[in-house]
Symmetry: C3
């Protein structure tokens, strides 16, 4: 298992971590199987979406912020970040990627993101490599 850290500059932000995953892949010379990217936090998540136009992430964060407002009547959790927990389970704690011939199999516009919903923080990301059969 590999582990790296990501600094998130705002409360809600996506950080493109594709280059870090590719760097680890090259280091291991892993050829064929799965790269599973896992977030061990409950107020952050991992997703695959467009990495080319930053307006896509802007619009996704805008929608998430409107759909899951920070403060809501009836929320009980004392830390006041229940919105971040909701977003984390909607987006998911991991992404499963394919590796073929030593490279990630990503669509033309796809990138892997750490999704921060309660930053700024330093977040941990784990990656595990599973051979195909």
């Amino acid at each position: 298992m590999d582990t790296f850290h990501v600094n998130t500059p705002e409360r809600n932000t996506f950080v493109n971590i594709t280059a870090e995953v590719r760097h680890l892949l090259a280091k291991h010379q892993f050829q064929d199987g799965l790269a599973v990217v896992y977030c061990p936090h409950t107020t952050a998540a991992i997703t695959v979406n467009e990495g080319y136009d930053p307006d896509v992430v802007h619009d996704m964060l805008l929608w998430l912020g409107r759909a899951v407002p920070h403060a809501q009547p009836g929320f009980r959790h004392g830390e006041g970040n229940s919105d971040a927990h909701v977003k984390a389970s909607l987006v998911g704690s991991s992404a499963t990627l394919f590796v073929e011939k030593g490279d990630l199999v990503l669509g033309q516009w796809q990138a892997v993101f750490l999704c921060e919903f309660d930053g700024p923080r330093t977040r941990t990301v784990h990656v595990k490599w599973i051979g195909a059969k």
Copy 2:
């Protein structure tokens, strides 16, 4: 593949199943790879989120209930549980966890939950163990 059952006491509830997964892991003495937790139902789901403060689950269920009301104009499905199907696809039918040195790799606050959206019922959970490489 392992299989166990979970009784869900309410229509909408999350049941912490981390101990069941850890119990199976110990029984198999599985050391290194993935534990994939799968829900074979279409009105329930699996998620990873905070297991420490029960108010987090309360707040997540509150948001889900507001965002996806039980009855909605235009819903056609005769069983009247379309809200549960929507929630199931938002949260997802499985969680992929890491195993290292014979234990689950979970963040400090993370737990694995069966998410019930159309209970009370007895639900089935499958777990499969995949070796790392």
Copy 3:
């Protein structure tokens, strides 16, 4: 890795791809492990939900369309399909399925869907087979 293509007839639609995955499984005589179904697009997704009553998919699309409207104040992405990107990350880019004794382990009502959110298009689906251990 296997690859197949799916024609999507509308802007928002789910296409049941279970038979294609089962066909590939039979061709490989793969017996035991994971079938990971991956969507290399950023405005489409993969989910597992009910394949029996088409009204379930109708209701899921109805909810998604209401919750994530096509045009929204503040959206910046020039292609005008930010709603599709949001839906893609809510539903997720892959599904992890179990294979036992040469068949998919699906619940009674479960099917695997390619979820189109910006069609009509011809979409690509990848499947990778990972042996259990």
